[in-house]
Symmetry: C2
């Protein structure tokens, strides 16, 4: 395609009057070559504008310098922040990122995983919850924790693939506990798809807290898919019951925004008539009206830690890579408050 054929290492060698081996050494182990020779090689490189061909290098060294990242949906602000963390950490370590947006589609996940076999990437970070077949084969063929495959945010003990994540069950437990402490006794929960271990863990945690006071607490569960629209639908569903919840805990911020939206459509005020808790603490959460109470995940850090995990495996000086749990935090903002009846009570009391 290029009109002017690129200069090769041979051109540089000729120009500098040395062998290609020397040129190569100047580039990879400069200490091995005499300073004077080195200088003339560097000069030749300069004048010819030489850049080593990546394919040739990769063919010879069996390393591509790339990590493949598959994301269920880049347009989701949660994933895009993780991706940003990944990109930045990878770049810092001299790797570049091959991006695959799978749209939650199994086929595309499978397809992308083939790139590992083709050696188009040295490792795989997958952000979904399904381990693609090609990657699974690789994992099986190597000792535990040695395959260059790691998972981000979706922890699944069965996967036998290391992962970076928060303690989802604990975080959910805390969210429900917080609502309980505020006085809420009827709590709605909007989940993500149950196929995802992440959703199951969160539900488990939420139920665990509710069950601790099971005689006093009612929990209603509605299923969502992490989209704003599904939040609206789930909110509608929860609110049209005979005794609607006084608070709703959503498994991500977007669904929480949907719930707030639909509550307002019904003429309800947040948090006076309905408290809403989200999950993730995406950028918009604090600028919503009302600003959203939510569980914060350290998204960039999750991404960076995932890369670090993968790099450890790639470097080979780790016997058994192990999952990492990062801290979360409950961020209280204005979308939550005491339930009205309780608020009225305490008002009367004062």
């Amino acid at each position: 395609m290029a009109a002017v054929p690129m200069a090769t290492i041979r051109d540089v060698a000729r120009q500098a009057g040395v062998s290609t081996a020397t040129v190569s050494r100047v580039l990879s182990r400069p200490d091995l070559v005499n300073p004077e020779t080195r200088a003339s090689v560097v000069a030749a490189i300069e004048t010819l504008g030489y850049t080593p061909n990546a394919a040739a290098k990769s063919l010879r060294t069996l390393r591509s310098g790339k990590v493949l990242v598959t994301v269920p949906d880049i347009a989701n602000p949660f994933f895009s922040l993780i991706l940003q963390g990944i990109e930045s950490a990878a770049q810092r370590a001299g790797y570049s990122v091959l991006l695959g947006d799978t749209q939650h589609d199994d086929k595309r996940e499978q397809q992308y995983a083939l790139m590992l076999q083709r050696r188009e990437a040295d490792g795989l970070i997958f952000l979904g919850h399904r381990l693609p077949k090609a990657a699974a084969a690789l994992v099986r063929s190597l000792p535990r924790g040695r395959a260059p495959v790691v998972n981000g945010c979706e922890f699944s003990p069965g996967l036998s693939v290391p992962s970076v994540h928060i303690d989802n069950a604990k975080a959910s437990f805390e969210a429900v506990d917080y609502l309980y402490q505020l006085g809420h006794r009827h709590i709605g929960v909007v989940t993500g798809p149950m196929a995802s271990p992440l959703s199951r863990d969160r539900l488990k945690g939420a139920m665990a807290r509710a069950n601790r006071d099971r005689t006093r607490v009612t929990v209603s569960v509605a299923g969502g898919d992490f989209s704003i629209e599904s939040g609206i639908a789930a909110g509608d569903q929860l609110m049209s019951g005979s005794t609607p919840p006084t608070s709703i805990f959503c498994f991500n911020d977007e669904m929480a925004i949907g719930v707030v939206h639909t509550a307002r459509q019904r003429g309800m005020r947040v948090p006076d008539d309905l408290s809403v808790v989200g999950f993730d603490d995406i950028r918009f959460a604090q600028y919503c009206d009302p600003p959203l109470t939510t569980i914060r995940q350290p998204m960039r850090e999750l991404g960076e830690a995932t890369v670090q995990l993968l790099l450890n495996i790639l470097s080979g000086n780790v016997k058994d890579a192990v999952s990492v749990t990062l801290p979360h935090a409950l961020i209280v903002r204005a979308s939550t408050g005491a339930p009205r009846s309780r608020a009225a009570m305490s008002l009367a009391r004062s």
Copy 2:
């Protein structure tokens, strides 16, 4: 790294009792080989689990099957949607995406552009407004519109690089016109960085409309950087003048959300006390409170068209690739209305 060395084309050839040339042909031009031979080769491929090595192929063919995409900030929902369009179109065409998040950093843009020289990618789509040096060199070395470099959304006639974008000046013109028609005579404008042609075009369009009625209209301009926070700052600046504007047009939705946020902090009601218009129509725009009036850009389509443009250049059967303009639309929602004085007037009148 892999415990079991990958099967090569030679292994397949041996297993099938043919030469490597035949195996290669089965893969690339199956019609050239006898059906029976083909079957036995396919069988050998199956049993060995053979996948061609990408580096070797790329070295030989001088094509990597990758496009490099540099984005100023993936976490920005505008860019992440464009990126989604790019990814999907690229994937459909058999290309994969190398992602570079430049964080608006010149150095990183330059660094990524080197991948083109290394032939790690067949083409470059850059979403920022600076053409990296390495790419510029490539552009210069080839006839106009032949270099595999295209720009997304930032149109700059001087760049001599084809681009896909909307008509920013016209869109801004329409936004201001809409506010004028509503009765607004004092209009605030929150721009993006003036280094970006996109911002300049939008400002040009806005001023063009204002100047048409320059005796009646006042325009106040504040500079932003497309972040929510800069929207807050710009909003504060505009609103603390002696005669604050009755409406503010922001060059993206996030800054508009910032303006709405700060207006509310000041006890103003949107749209009663202040009308706000955004730009882009990101996903959250319609779920804000109030839902945001904005200029819609077809983000996915922008991304897809950018890939198409690049593919046309790569295919080589296009003499002079030319920029593409996609349609935009003014989406009227609830964040805009007549200014209070005017509203009062018309109320009095009725």
